[in-house]
Amino acid sequence: MKTDTKLLMLIVVFGLIALAPLLITQESLLNIVIMTLYAALLGQAWNILGGYGGQVSFGHAAYFGTGAYTVAVLQVQFGINPWIGLAAGGLAAAAVGAFIGLCTFRYGLRGSYFALVTLAFAEVLRILSNSVDFTGAGVGLLIPLERSAANFQFLTKAGFFWVIWAMTLAAFLTVWKIGNSRFGAQLMAVRDNEDAARALGVNAFRVKMGAIMLSGFFSGLAGVFYAQYFLYLDPYIAYGAAISVESLLVPIIGGMGTLFGPLLGAAFLHGLSELSRAVIGDAPGISLVLYGVLLVIMVLFVPRGLAGLASHLRSGKRAVSQAEGGNDRA
C-alpha cells in the first residue's frame, strides 16, 4: 500500500469513528468505542517502540502510570488544571522513557534483557508509588469530583470520546509519519539488523531513544485519559502488569509494525471480550476461558496478526507469505 493511500484510509477510518457519538445513543456502546480507542492508543504507543523499533517492552505501565499519576498529583496536591496536566503527563512519561532508554540502550541491552528490564522499571515505579506520600501510597489518589469540561470531567461520554479520539488520531498520524520518514526507515533498520544499520551510519542509540520517548509520550496520554475517566488511581492500576500486557497484546494481535494493527487488535480484543461475556453470561471465569480459547484459535488461523490477514485478503494471496517460504518446514 502506498503511503498516501494509507493516510487517506487513516482519515476515512477516523472520520467514520467520529460518527460514533452522533449515531450511538447508548452510553454503554459509546463506552466500548471509547475503551477500544483507548486500547488502540496504548497499543499504538507500544507499537512505535516494539513494532517499528523491535524493542519489545514488558513494562509500558511505567509510562502509562507516570502519565496518570502526573495529572492526578498535579490536580490533587497542587490544584493544577488537568488540561495542563495532560501535557505534563505526556511529557513526564516521555521523560521516563528517556531515562529508561538511557539506562538500557546506552549499555547495549537488547531482546529479552531489554524486555525484562523495562518490566523491572515498571515494578520499581509501582513500589515507589506505593511508598511515597504524594501519590497517596497504597491508599491511592482520588481525583475530586467536579464535573465540567473545563475540568476535564465531562458530563457525558461524548466529551471523553472526543478527547480519546483526538489523542488516538494523533498517535496514528505520528506512526503514519514514521512509516514515511527517515527516522522511521532508520528505526526499522535498527529493528531488523542493528549492526547493519550502524554500518550504514544509523545512530542506533539516538533512533531508539527517539522511539522510546515517543512511545512513552503516547502511553502517558493514555494514562492521563484513564485518570480523568475513572478519577481514581492506585499503584496497581497505574503501574501494574495488566497495562503492560494490554499494551503489547493489542498490537501483536493486530499486527506488529503496521499502522492499522493496533486499531484492529483493540477492536478485536474488545469485541472478543464482549462476545465471550455475551455468550457465557456470568459463570465465574468461564467467559474468560472462552476468551482464552478464541485467542488461541485466532492465533492458530491468523498467525501474522489481523493486519497481515487484511493485506493478504487484499492481495488475494495464499495465507502463507513468500518470505517465509510457503510450505518450507524450516
Binding site: S321, G325, G326, D328, A330
Partner: protein, 234 residues
C-alpha cells in the same frame, strides 16, 4: 541411487522448480550447475526434506523419499551440507561435530571425529571454540565435517567452496574426490564450474527451473552455450 523425476516446488505461489529430472548412480560425483537464483538450493532443500515438493517423485536407494521429514531422510543416509553453512553458533566445534551423528553413526562417533580432525586439522585447533566465532572458511570446514559425521551414503554439498581460500578450495575438491574414491556418492552444487567439472563424473545444468543440459563434463565443456553463460568465455 537417487532418482528424481518431474519434480516441482516453489515458494508461496511462485514455482521455482518446474519439472526436474535427474539421477545419480552409486559411486558417482555429480555436479549441479546453474546461475544464481535458478533454484539449486531449492532443489537441495526439497530433496533433503526441508521443503515439500508440489509434485513429482524422489527415489533414494529404491525408496520413495518425497515428502518425508528431514530426519527420516537423514536416517536413510542422505545428508546435506547446506549453503550458508548453518553451523550451531552457540556450541563448540566439538559439539557441532557430535551433533552430526545425532541420528546416524552414533556408535562410531569418536572415531569419526578423529577422522574429520585429520581431514581438517584447523578444526582440531578450534575444538572448544564456539562455532559462531569461527572465520567463514573455518565454518565451511565444520559444516562439511558435521555432514561427514553421519556416515552418509549420498552427500549433497551446496556450494562448499564459497568463501574458501584458493588453497583450501583446491584441497576441498581433492578431498571430495578422495571421499568419492573411498566410496561416497556426492552431489555437488557449485558455481565454481571449472573445478567441479574437473572432478565430476557427470554434470547437470539447470535453467528456468528445468534441467537444460546434462552429460559428462568433457562433452559439456565444449558446449558453446555453457561456455558463454557459465564460464564467462567468449
Amino acid at each position: 541411487m537417487l532418482e528424481v523425476s518431474n519434480l516441482r516446488a516453489g515458494y508461496g505461489a511462485v514455482e521455482v522448480l518446474r519439472g526436474i529430472d535427474l539421477s545419480i548412480d552409486k559411486g558417482e560425483i555429480v555436479t549441479l550447475l546453474g546461475s544464481n537464483g535458478v533454484g539449486k538450493t531449492t532443489f537441495s532443500a526439497v530433496v533433503s526434506g526441508l521443503m515439500q515438493p508440489w509434485s513429482g517423485s524422489i527415489t533414494f536407494e529404491g525408496k520413495s523419499i518425497a515428502g518425508l521429514t528431514p530426519q527420516a531422510i537423514v536416517d536413510e543416509g542422505l545428508i546435506q551440507v547446506p549453503e550458508g553453512r548453518h553451523v550451531f553458533p552457540n556450541m563448540t566445534v566439538r559439539e557441532n561435530l557430535e551433533l552430526g551423528s545425532y541420528r546416524r553413526g552414533r556408535a562410531n562417533r569418536s572415531r569419526n571425529i578423529e577422522h574429520v580432525a585429520e581431514i581438517f586439522p584447523r578444526l582440531r585447533e578450534r575444538f572448544s571454540q564456539n562455532a559462531g566465532t569461527l572465520s567463514g572458511g573455518e565454518q565451511q570446514m565444520l559444516a562439511i565435517g558435521r555432514g561427514m559425521m553421519a556416515e552418509p551414503h549420498l552427500l549433497i554439498l551446496d556450494e562448499p567452496s564459497i568463501g574458501l581460500s584458493p588453497l583450501l578450495v583446491e584441497e576441498m575438491f581433492s578431498l571430495i574426490k578422495q571421499l568419492n574414491t573411498d566410496g561416497l556418492t556426492i552431489l555437488l552444487v557449485e558455481q565454481n564450474v571449472l573445478q567441479s567439472m574437473e572432478i565430476a563424473d557427470r554434470a547437470f545444468v539447470m535453467e528456468n527451473g528445468e534441467i537444460k543440459l546434462s552429460g559428462i563434463p568433457a562433452d559439456l565443456m565444449d558446449d558453446p552455450e555453457l561456455q558463454r553463460s557459465y564460464l564467462g568465455l567468449a
